[in-house]
């Protein structure tokens, strides 16, 4: 069933259209002068002002490798992160730890560890899956480069970004 909507009958002052123009200009000019006199804060001027100090601890920035408090490598090259990574951004080449070394029981360590930041989607699954708490998404969000090669973070770069982190690591437990 159709319903006929009656158009409102306009007064002659409304039909003149000029008062409406001035009414509209009042609104736009109010906004204009509010910005001009800095009564209204607009937005953060990004490269000069940053919000970094307010980033929460669970912020998911670039994935990084972390060392333990003694500066030792936590990663055991189990490759779980490589398997779970949805965009397949992580490439690990493990190497064997020789049997005469102290921590021979760990068996593996990463020879190379690369994260292709052009592929990474910052999902955080690598951090979640890591049994040794070796990989963490830190607060770096400015990941740029001039070429695809530059966008691949190698092990050195990952440790630079990750630094050290305290916490329980099974790797250094003699009994496990």
């Amino acid at each position: 069933m159709s319903k006929i909507v009656q158009r409102p009958k306009l007064k002659w002052s409304e039909r003149l259209y000029l008062p409406a123009i001035f009414g509209g200009m009042k609104v736009t000019l109010r906004h204009f002068f509010a910005i001009l006199t800095r009564k209204k804060k607009v937005t953060m001027q990004y490269p000069e002002e940053k919000w970094d100090a307010h980033l929460p601890n669970h912020y998911r920035g670039a994935p990084t490798l972390v060392m333990d408090e003694h500066g030792r490598e936590r990663c055991v090259a189990c490759q779980l992160c490589e398997f779970i990574c949805p965009p397949r951004a992580i490439t690990i080449h493990p190497e064997e730890i020789a049997s005469d070394e102290k921590w021979a029981k760990v068996e593996k360590r990463p020879k190379t560890f690369e994260i292709d930041m052009a592929r990474c989607i910052y999902c955080g699954l690598c951090q979640e899956v890591c049994p040794e708490q070796a990989i963490f998404l830190r607060k770096d969000y400015v990941v740029v480069g001039h070429s695809r090669e530059e966008m691949v973070h190698d092990k050195k770069r990952l440790y630079e970004l990750g630094q050290t982190m305290d916490g329980l690591v099974h790797k250094w437990n003699e009994l496990k």
Partner: protein, 364 residues
């Protein structure tokens, strides 16, 4: 041959058109973006140079460096001709605008024509060819529709534009823009007759038809320059970009700049006709006669006053653009033909009757 006249004209052309108007065009683009941003609670371009003032330069460089792509399906000759036909008339019309009194003994107008407004209407109406040619030669549907709309819109509003100036010309009895401004400087601006001979019953009553003229003229000018709320030839929501859809690089920029140049010259004309051109209110610093030489600093002040008024008018243009929604096409035509045309004609009659009743010689 009077070489010094030629050289003076050349210098005036270079200074007024290339050193004052074109930078003003660039600044108008910048102002448009900053003001629109402020109105919409944003910041706008503020990176390039202080307060983003060099943004137009960056834009210009970008336009020059972009690929100038000519689609295979266009009519090449007219496609290349169209942008210049938009830009050139817009700048040509600035020739008759008196933008100051005198500097170094030279009158500050490029061509002191005795048919100023007629020249402006004649040349400015050529702009429509640029837009129509652009729309047609692009050989593509949206530009075509934009061109068709533009031609009908500009032709419709040109009538009320021309008719709205008639009462003013009747009042001053002169078609020389320089004389009109001088008259206003001595006897009150057309819209503000508050000093000299203007401050009389006759002057104040005649300001009423002048105000009607001003409203019609300004609105028609919005339509002529294809500015919102009358930007139907290029309305983004319906026609992609209207007549310049197929254009790129500097050819597109010429359309863009032509629009702003037309806006500036239109503002200049409106300021000259209705708001006293270069003159300060209440006859301050007004030279008594054309023959009188003005001091250098006064000449500069007059030029400054003219441009201050033009800039204020451009800001008005910009605020209107970000205030009013676009007209529907039939509303636009109705407004042009049913209201403004009639109002302009009736206004001429009203002015004539008032001038007859209030003639200085009559008893009233």
């Amino acid at each position: 041959m009077d070489w010094h006249l030629l050289i003076a004209a050349g210098v005036k052309i270079v200074v007024f058109v290339f050193l004052l108007t074109l930078p003003l065009v660039a600044m108008a683009v910048w102002a448009e973006r900053r003001v629109s941003a402020a109105i919409q609670d944003r910041v706008g371009p503020n990176r390039v140079g202080p307060m983003g003032l060099l943004q137009p330069v960056a834009d210009g460089i970008k336009f020059l460096l972009k690929e100038d792509f000519t689609p295979a399906h266009v009519r090449k000759t007219f496609f290349w001709l169209a942008p210049t036909l938009v830009m050139v008339p817009a700048l040509l019309t600035s020739a008759v605008l008196p933008f100051g009194t005198k500097l170094f003994g030279e009158p500050m107008v490029i061509a002191d024509l005795d048919v100023g407004p007629l020249f402006i209407f004649a040349v400015a109406s050529l702009t429509v060819y640029g837009i129509v040619l652009a729309g047609w030669s692009s050989n593509s549907k949206y530009p075509f529709l934009g061109g068709v709309r533009s031609s009908s819109q500009m032709i419709s509003y040109e009538i009320s534009l021309g008719l709205s100036v008639v009462p003013l010309i009747m009042l001053y009895g002169d078609l020389n823009l320089g004389h009109i401004v001088r008259e206003q400087a001595h006897n009150g601006w057309t819209l503000l007759p508050l000093w000299g001979e203007g401050l009389s019953v006759r002057g104040l009553i005649l300001a009423i038809p002048m105000f009607i003229s001003f409203v019609v003229f300004t609105t028609a000018m919005f339509a002529e320059t294809n500015r919102l709320p009358f930007d139907l030839p290029e309305c983004e929501t319906e026609l992609v970009a209207g007549y310049h859809t197929e254009y790129s690089s500097m050819k597109f920029a010429l359309f863009f700049l032509g629009e702003y140049a037309a806006m500036i010259v239109g503002s200049g004309l409106c300021v000259t006709l209705f708001l006293g051109g270069w003159s300060l209110p209440f006859g301050w610093l007004t030279p008594a006669d054309t023959a009188v030489d003005v001091p250098f600093w006064q000449g500069l002040i007059h030029i400054g006053v003219f441009f201050a008024k033009v800039i204020a008018f451009i800001l008005f243009f910009i605020v209107i653009r970000w205030t009013l929604p676009r007209f529907r096409y039939d509303q636009l035509m109705k407004l042009g033909w049913i209201y403004f045309f009639e109002i302009a004609v009736l206004n001429i009659i009203l002015t004539a009757v008032l001038m007859w009743l209030l003639a200085p010689g009559s008893a009233a």
